[in-house]
Each structure stands twice: as C-alpha cells, then as structure tokens.
Symmetry: C2
Subunit: 150 residues, 2 copies
C-alpha cells in the first residue's frame, strides 16, 4: 500500500483517475439511453467479445479472471439477453459467446460517450498533447499488457 510519497504523484493513481472517470461517464450514458441492466463487471466481459464471438476461456484470460468467474458473468449476460452461446464449429468442447442484436445496438451509444469524454480531454490538453498521450499509451501497452496482440 501507500504507493505514493515519491517525487510527484503516484503514476498508478494518475492513470487510474481518468480511466475511472471515463468508465463512469460511459456507464452513465448507457444507463440514460436505457441500457441500465448490466453491471461494470459484466461490461468488462462484453467489451472483449469480438464480432464473430469469443470463447469463454479467452474472455477470462483477457479480463484477467478465472474461467469460472467469466462463466458466471456470461451466464448473467445471457439471462439479460446481451449474449448467446453458440457451438464452436472448430472445437466440440468450446462455445462462442456472441453479442445479441440488442447489445450491438448499444455500441454506438457507448462510442458516442467515449467520443464526448475524449473531446473534453482534448479541449483541456490541446490536440498535440492528446495525440501524444494516445501514442504513448499504445507504446506502453507493448510492455504493460501481457495480452497485447500485435
């Protein structure tokens, strides 16, 4: 604990604060648009579902939870009509978790909310700084994301 007390401000907290701010605002925007019957944990799973569906194990790995936890959350999402599980044609053991139409309709709402937050940030930081921030974070991902795929 107490990761602070270094030179300036704790870099972890500095990363976390805007992340939380963004997440909160996107969540609120979705709720305002009527998409209010899912939780933050469920959203984290849904975020990771690809256009052609994603396996439970992959979702678990990317969200950094156990497959049991991912299974629980996918179960909740299925009950709520956000996802369906379809058999994976390439592997009889596996099933693909896919977004339903309803879930796909929510994507533009979420995107718009992200765009609004991003615009606020850019207005505060200026376009140059904002662009560099994004570039730096993409670069940082190479070493800070065990799951970086590219």
């Amino acid at each position: 604990m107490e990761e602070s007390h270094d030179d300036g401000m704790n870099i972890g907290l500095l990363l976390f604060l805007p992340y939380r701010s963004l997440e909160t605002r996107v969540f609120a925007a979705l709720a305002r648009a009527g998409y209010d019957d899912f939780t933050a944990a469920q959203m984290k799973i849904m975020q990771r579902i690809g256009p052609d569906g994603t396996r439970l194990t992959d979702l678990a790995e990317q969200a950094q939870v156990t497959k049991q936890t991912a299974g629980f959350l996918v179960g909740q999402l299925e009950k709520g009509g956000w996802v369906v599980r379809t058999p994976d044609p390439t592997d009889g053991r596996a099933r693909l978790v896919c977004l339903t139409e309803r879930a796909k309709e929510a994507i533009p709402v979420a995107d718009a909310a992200v765009a609004e937050v991003t615009a606020d940030w850019e207005a505060h930081l200026g376009p140059r700084r904002m662009k560099r921030l994004r570039e730096t974070l993409i670069m940082l991902r190479e070493i800070a994301d065990p799951y970086a795929h590219q």
Copy 2:
C-alpha cells in the same frame, strides 16, 4: 458496453492496462517482502491515509465507495494490525484512521516497486516521453478527478 471500435484503441483500456500492470507488480513485491495479508481493496483504502490520519468519510469519498464499505475495510485493516482508529480531537463524532508502524515500514517497499516499474516504462518509452506522460496525466487529473486537491 463495447467501448472500442473507434479510430484506434479504446483510450480507457489503454489507461487501465498499465495501471493494472503497476498495481499487480507492486502487490507482488509487497507479498514477496512478507506483506501479504491484505487485499487489493484494503490497499486502495490504505493508500489514501495521510501521515496524520484521515477520517473514514474522507477515505470513502476518495476511494469512491460508501462509508459503510470503507468502514468494513478499515475494520479488516484494523484486525490485521495495519491501522488504528484514534479519536479526532476536533470533532467528537469523528475518528482518525492512522497507519501503524508496521504499515509505515511497508511504504519503502511499495515505493521501490513503483520505482522499478517506472524505470521499466522509461526504458521503453524514453525519458522525454515518460516525462510528458506524467505531465499530461497530472494535467488530465484536473478535470478527471472530482477530488483533485490542488
């Protein structure tokens, strides 16, 4: 959900990934040093305790949880010998949550872990980019942290 699908990468995820990486590594370093009997949620509370103690309500506000949750976590920390609650001389209703000696001893361990991670990042990004990242995040905090104090 599905906050992605914009131009490049979801900026929220880009902020979150290094945050999580840092947190995981600091947590692991503390565990290796023998400080392994507290949880991530408890750490988030402890992080916010000032050198002269902090009120429960303030901890709750900063960590963005209810005071009941903060109270629960402080209770766990108290059982584990990480904090003590002392009366607040200026307000008979309030108590100050203070770090014990044991907790204070863990601070340099956490700081060293943060320094190590920061060094890794700087090695990857280069000193200029790292410096700008920190500056930008501090600037961003002004609008992304409802609790920014300064």
